[in-house]
Amino acid sequence: MTTRPSPALIAIAALVYVFLVGPLVIVIGASLSDTTYLTFPPQGLSLRWFENIFEITAFRRTIVTSLQIAFLSTGLALLIGIPAAYALNRYRIQLPSWLSTVFVLPILVPEIVLGFSLLKSVAVGASFPIFVSLLIGHTLLVLPYCVRVISASLASFDFSIEEAAISLGSPPAKTFFTIVLPNVRAGVIAAFILAFITSINDVSTSLFLTGPGISTLPIQILAHVEQFFDPTIASVSVLLMFLTVAVMAIVERTLGLTFLAK
């Protein structure tokens, strides 16, 4: 990856980043304001709205649930999604062409209808425990990202490398992990990030799948802002940004998916 793009292109990308990051300056500024209402520029600087997050029991309790669900659902979706993406590319002649649309269905259905249907048919109809129903809902929600993003990455992968390795005696499973997967690293990471964030932020699907004793952070935040209009919502967003960076750093370290290798 050594061809530098033209200066014009870099300028456009820079402008896009200004567009994306600009409003964040407002969010961060508002989270530090020493006022009881959202304002920008901040009036007085204080970390009290960050402290407030941890003082609210509802938030403390549900941060854990949200993280559990996000990790488990993303993990599950990757576990079943990567093989599916691989199959769509490597074994495309065996599979019908509409199969790829099946994996996109979860985002075609409006989320509250999905949550409602799961509650009715699965949680109530088939008496599944609440946590499991919530987990299934989230796994479905993030599956499209895991399948399609990785599949797109695999579309430009040269499978002859894999065939060469197999013909030289490497077992198929090992070849997958040592040859195929590392080459779609960026796709897997992008899928992981998108899936994790989608799950952590989700409201509409979770709305119906929470129950006594089980709720998620975004839903609690929504309930909170019905009564309290203070900058806590801004500080929660900033906290989530830090959390994401932390999660990505951990992913990079433990699973060895470093960018530096490329």
Binding site: Y37, V64, T210, P212, G213, S215, Q220, Q227, G256
Partner: protein
């Protein structure tokens, strides 16, 4: 190879730990309560802990907004919770859908100490445990002369200065009622004149808000100078815009009651009645009122003028409030929503 093996074992261990930390199932003698979920610490201090000690039971909560909690109770066939908190508009829907059971008033002796309005607002079903009001708030620095009646919302000098509550909020349908009164007709009988008035107020409206924080943001950034609000928002609104005032409406503000009900599928009916009686006791109501949780409906609660400022409090004020007939409102709501959509949404 061993590296990868080690990593996948670590990963599996993490997953196992995550699963093990998943919430345990409820134990026996549990009372399940459905409520909004904010103010957790104060409610824990004044209601949850004391009641748990008193009954030797555990309280478990289902939290969320009115609509999703009611929907969930409906899908579960009235089961899953023992005590359900709703605003009166929604508890009326619950009653009409046959989701609640009548309250055995002999088991709730504290009812006698309530304002009459709160004792049986919806017939044999749940009582109100707190009362609030919907009125007009305006920025006194920018609005002259001050607002003194509901009809002032239609004033010409308020072009592009007003935010109405969305039709899907608690206060939304009240706007239609007010419009009907202005037109001199009963909007439940014939909504045409009321909606003609709503069409007339449209030039004054910048945006209809759906959450309290939206309304406050609109005020604090100067997008609007007049709005309808519930009284609990006033304190926070004034912190953002100190010149905001609650309009002294000669034709009266509108009462909003929050109720507690027992769904028909409850497995702990006795305990549920005990809980309701508990939250209506003078001690609990005094504590929650003094500590900024809810306005009291028990007549014997005494508050200093300072404490009472933020609440709907006092016989005089409460008697002067307009009531909403929710059974009529719920019947008309679908039609009103469609017509409101056509005015604002086209």
């Amino acid at each position: 190879m061993t590296n990868a093996l080690y990593r996948s074992l670590a990963g599996a261990a993490c997953v196992a730990a995550l699963l093990a930390a998943a919430p345990a199932t409820a134990q026996d003698k549990t009372l399940t309560i459905s409520w909004w979920g904010f103010n957790g610490e104060k409610l824990n201090q004044f209601i949850v802990q004391p009641f748990q000690e008193k009954c030797g039971c555990t309280l478990v909560f289902e939290t969320g907004n009115n609509a999703d909690r009611l929907n969930k109770i409906k899908i579960r066939g009235g089961e899953g919770v023992d005590v359900a908190y709703f605003t009166d508009g929604f508890s009326q829907i619950g009653i009409e859908e046959g989701l609640f059971q009548p309250i055995d008033r002999s088991k709730v002796p504290n009812l006698a100490g309530l304002y009459e309005m709160a004792q049986a607002p919806q017939g044999e079903y749940g009582p109100a445990y707190t009362i609030g009001r919907v009125g007009i708030v305006y920025d006194s620095a920018k609005v002259n002369p001050p607002i003194t009646k509901w009809a002032d919302l239609w004033r010409d000098d308020l072009k592009s200065a007003v935010s109405l509550p969305g039709i899907t909020t608690t206060a939304g349908p009240m706007v239609v009622m007010i419009a009907g009164e202005k037109a001199g007709t009963d909007p439940f009988e014939n909504a045409d004149p009321a909606f003609a008035e709503i069409e007339a107020i449209k030039p004054n409206v910048v945006k209809n808000y759906n959450t309290g924080s939206e309304m406050i943001n609109l005020f604090s950034t100067g997008e609007i100078t007049v709005s309808l609000a519930q009284d609990f928002a006033l304190g926070q609104l004034k912190a953002a815009v100190p010149t905001v005032e609650w309009a002294n409406l000669e034709d009266g503000a509108i009462a909003t009651l929050n109720t507690v009900n027992i769904p028909k599928g409850s497995k702990n009916v006795e305990l549920a009645h005990e809980f309701i009686n508990f939250i209506l006791s003078p001690e609990v109501q005094q504590a929650t009122a003094e500590n900024g949780v809810d306005a009291p409906v028990v007549t014997s609660v005494q508050l200093t003028p300072e404490q009472a400022k933020q609440w709907t409090y006092g016989k005089e004020m409460i008697d002067g409030l307009k009531r909403v007939d929710y059974s009529k409102l719920n019947a008309a709501k679908s039609d009103w929503i469609d017509r409101w959509n056509e005015i604002f949404g086209m």
